[in-house]
């Protein structure tokens, strides 16, 4: 027999699927801010935040929403090298595949972009931009100077990456949008909405406010960590439901299980 917790567990598989997007107060604000920034005559926009704050899903959502209004392209995975990146860019700009055994000439590409000014307005969403090297980022900036191509660069906020941002981008014309970890209220809404989206009303109700507080304390409001923790919680629940039902309370998820999941993920230690 299938456990009720199996479906709940699968709700929290981490993905950037636009269908899994949950509208929260904070995410709506970020979306509007990004949308508004894209309408401005800016060359580059920096989307900034710690891992798991919802940058990728925001880029994905805006790409999906605006793909019929704007010429928008989402580069979800960074190119392994410069050659590959320019191949991809060439295809977006020219709408043609690059012939075999040929390479993109960067100055020719910049000239091509300059010719596009006023004719087309192309938006490139670059996820995981911290993977691009400094030299590469400089080339991206030169392309954006053509004003025909606008880049939205999504960047992890770590100490090192902060440094990159400061040194190479902050001196230029940038719009910076920072995504932060969710508040307890936002995270509670996020968890409830996710479960309710899959009609798991009883399970959503079994996570009480006290549990939400604990989950928020463990994950610090990070969506990715939250997904990981809830996946593990429901995985443990599923085990007990199938093997030792006496150890589980269907009306209230025991604190013990939340702590066990936290131990498993290393949020707490013995």
């Amino acid at each position: 027999m299938k456990s009720r917790y199996e479906a709940a567990k699968n709700v929290f598989i981490d993905s950037v699927d636009v269908d899994d997007y949950i509208e929260l107060e904070s995410s709506v604000t970020a979306y509007k801010q990004l949308h508004h920034s894209m309408d401005k005559p800016l060359k580059m926009i920096l989307l900034f935040g710690r891992p798991g704050t919802g940058k990728s899903i925001l880029l994905n959502r805006i790409s999906e929403k605006l793909k019929h209004q704007k010429e928008i392209h989402y580069f979800d995975t960074p190119a392994i090298n410069e050659k590959e990146f320019f191949h991809k860019l060439f295809k977006v700009l020219t709408k043609k595949d690059l012939p075999n055994n040929t390479e993109v000439n960067f100055s020719a590409l910049v000239d091509f972009c300059k010719e596009l000014r006023g004719k087309r307005e192309i938006v490139i969403l670059l996820d995981e931009a911290q993977m691009y090297g400094i030299e590469m980022m400089e080339k991206i900036r030169l392309l954006s100077d053509s004003r025909a191509v606008k880049f939205v660069v999504s960047l992890h906020k770590t100490e090192d990456e902060d440094l990159i941002a400061k040194e190479h981008f902050q001196s230029r014309i940038w719009e910076v949008i920072e995504l932060k970890n969710a508040t307890k209220a936002d995270q509670t809404t996020y968890i409830h909405k996710k479960l309710l989206k899959k009609n798991l009303f009883e399970i959503a109700n079994s996570i009480k406010d006290k549990d939400m507080k604990l989950i928020h304390a463990f994950t610090k409001g990070n969506f990715r960590e939250c997904n990981k923790l809830l996946f593990t919680i429901f995985e443990i629940c599923e085990y007990y439901d199938k093997n030792e039902p006496s150890k589980i309370n269907y009306e209230h998820i025991p604190q013990r299980i939340i702590e066990m999941a936290a131990l498993k993920l290393g949020y707490i230690h013995v």
Binding site: E235, I236, E238, Y239, R256, E259, M260, L263, K264, I268, H269, V270
Partner: protein
């Protein structure tokens, strides 16, 4: 989820660790409470001890004024002997205790233990007797007095309600034995009023009369009763009164 058992064990350890500060806090509170009470108790006992010491110093100084320490021992012994002669209930019970202990037959043959107990206990009892004697004696007597008065009153009330000669005769005998001859005479007369054939009431009545100094009246009354009843006890009493041996 294959690693649930190790995870459970890990959680048990974590839970213990998590509760440890609370346990320590609880233990700390208990220990500090115990320490507080111990100190508090010490202060009380110290104050008691100091007051006791003062008292003993006072008594000792009083004794010293009276004579040497050997005299003190003799005095205490004399007090005990006096108590015996007075048949004081408290002294008796206190003296009985050590003899009861000595009468124990030790089944294990550890006679030494009992001998030691006996040796230790005797002086303790003596000292206790010495210290406690007077207040105990007073209290005991007071209790008898109060209870007896209330009991006699109850019997009197009962007699007036029922006119039971057993009650009136009891009162007459009791008062006579206590030396309250006027009362004894009254209750003997009360008995006689209800039933004139009760010999004991006649005898107590005449004896009370003699004790109150009405010897001739007593003889006259007794002779009239002997004529009526020909009682041997009455004759013996008459003989005693005439001889002046009552």
């Amino acid at each position: 989820m294959y690693d649930i058992k190790p995870l459970e064990e890990e959680w048990n350890k974590y839970n213990k660790k998590k509760r440890k500060p609370w346990y320590l806090l609880g233990l700390g509170i208990i220990v500090s409470t115990i320490i507080f009470f111990v100190i508090f108790k010490f202060n009380i006992t110290d104050s008691f001890k100091s007051s006791d010491q003062n008292k003993s110093v006072e008594t000792f100084s009083k004794v010293e004024k009276g004579g040497s320490s050997s005299i003190l021992m003799d005095k205490s012994l004399a007090t005990l002997e006096l108590e015996k002669s007075k048949k004081n209930v408290i002294a008796k019970t206190l003296e009985i205790k050590p003899t009861t202990i000595t009468s124990y037959d030790d089944p294990m043959g550890n006679s030494e233990v009992y001998v030691k107990e006996k040796k230790i206990k005797k002086p303790r009892i003596k000292s206790k007797v010495k210290m406690v004697q007077k207040p105990h004696k007073k209290m005991h007597l007071n209790i008898i007095e109060t209870t007896s008065v209330s009991a006699y009153k109850d019997v009197e009330k009962r007699f007036y309600a029922s006119h039971d000669t057993d009650d009136s005769l009891f009162l007459a005998k009791s008062y006579y034995s206590k030396g309250l001859y006027k009362k004894a005479e009254h209750w003997a007369l009360e008995t006689n009023k209800v039933n004139g054939n009760i010999e004991e009431s006649w005898l107590i009545f005449t004896k009370s009369k003699v004790k109150l100094g009405h010897k001739n009246e007593a003889i006259r009354l007794l002779m009239s009763y002997i004529k009526r009843s020909n009682s041997k006890n009455a004759r013996r009493l008459l003989y005693k009164i005439q001889k002046g041996n009552l």
